[in-house]
Amino acid sequence: MNRTKIAVIGGGPAGLAAAIEAKKAGEDSILVLERDRCLGGILNQCIHNGFGLHTFKEELTGPEYAQRFIDQVRELEIPCRLGTMVMSIAMAEDGSSDKIVTYLNHEEGLVQLRAEAVILAMGCRERPRGALNIPGFRPAGIYTAGTAQKLVNIDGFMPGRSVVILGSGDIGLIMARRMTLEGAKVQAVAELMPYSGGLKRNIVQCLDDFGIPLKLSHTVVNIEGKERVKAVTIAKVDERNKPIPGTEERFECDTLLLSCGLLPENELTSGLGAVISPVTRGPEVNESLETSIPGVFACGNVLHVHDLVDFVSQEAAQAGRNAARFVQGQAGETPTPDIRVTAENGVRYTVPEIINPGRMEDTLTLRFRVGAVYQDIYESVYVNDRRILHRKKKIAAPGEMETVVIKKDSFDQAGEVKSITVRLEEE
């Protein structure tokens, strides 16, 4: 059986940053397994700019951002297997904490790889039509926004000429601009919620710049066309998301793009038996970004869906460091009990979900999302009854991930840690 110390599942932004950091932490035995024929993951098709402002202090396009990490992987001589599909991850049957990664590719066939640690970095996928319950026919011309993005940017193929977009996630907004620049007519973007899930910058620069209307609180109520999309009808919805009769608006078009959310891709994680959060749909992790299975770490969109790749890179680097520490036997025993972080009062979830104060580094980044749009709100972190962080935010919205950094010494002052709570407060 082949062996490696650390197996990294996925060669996108998360997998690359994790592998680089594990190598820098002194771990030489690393193998990156990537399904596609090239590294870089989704960044390859994200040809727009705006990546890397936090990491490199300049605005890069997706492929440029990816290349900076690919170059480092090459310089550090980290081996990568491309065109490689991981079929399963399972615990070794000899009672050790090793994992058996089963993968498949053209050169080696079916391979079983024994790894001491695994970093999950499989990313996410788009919610497809089948998961949306849109009424109407099922003709050609209905794509997820990301599929259309790959067709236009990588394959040089325009999927349609006259377009309606459902969902105002960032990929949908980016594709509204991209299709317009390539000569298509984008007639409207319909969004079920009363606010957009996309970044403000994208609404202005992808829709407003081109006069594309954003229809908030609207959804698709009919798709016409037997062979090919002929028309799409949208309608306004009430506060319970039910279409309001009489508000229908019909657009003759040949294409409907769907940008209705991203789902972490965790089939391998579930197969391994790791605990999955019902909120993030990613594995639950502790302060080391380790899942409920010791030695299995997670980062990037497979853990929870991010808005900015810079934060993926940061998170993945932490996972890589901790995986290296694990295989080098430095993870240490668990000195204090695990504490489950309580997310309440507008905070939908936190990552990590579990903190062991004894294993915390000097600072810990807590990422979370809020459940609605809040103005002039305070983000607070409590240890027991003591408030250790209180920060004013002019605005917090579901479309933008929130980040707070908590310090280990503020824990020390609180005495024995019994609870950790993250909540929004009005004052």
Binding site: T61, E64, I154, L181, E182, K200, R201, V204, D209
Partner: protein, 123 residues
């Protein structure tokens, strides 16, 4: 007197800003709640600029398209001219990030450069 309505992109607030112009000169900026908004609004009404990104065919490449961008800001009004100019462009693989794909696009003084490495297709 001309009034222009803008949505600020400085943060998720997205303040609705009204700029009043007289003879192309900014007389007032209202609706913003911070300095970032004031700065954005003034730049946006006097000299709006964008970076344009697209992709062009990469002849003989392992993938068919190479992504490109304007190496710097171009006037917002030139976006469709740049796209039109790019329609006539293709490059020969291999291509490296930073290679000039189209120099001085539309007389803006800005080059269009490759943003992706595309290797020659293996035989």
């Amino acid at each position: 007197m001309e009034k222009r309505e803008l949505t600020c992109i400085g943060c998720p607030m997205g303040c609705q800003i009204t700029v009043t112009l007289e003879d192309g000169e900014v007389k007032s900026v209202e609706g913003n709640t911070c300095l970032k908004g004031d700065k954005y609004a003034r730049a946006e009404v006097t000299n709006p600029v964008r970076v344009v990104t697209s992709s062009v065919p990469a002849v003989g490449g392992e993938i068919g398209q190479v992504s490109v961008k304007t190496a710097g800001d171009i006037p917002k009004g030139c976006i469709f001219d740049v796209m039109e100019a790019l329609r006539a462009v293709s490059v020969q693989a291999p291509v490296r990030i930073g290679d000039v794909v189209l120099a001085d696009v539309c007389g803006t003084g800005v080059d269009v450069i490759a943003t992706k490495n595309v290797e020659l297709k293996a035989r």
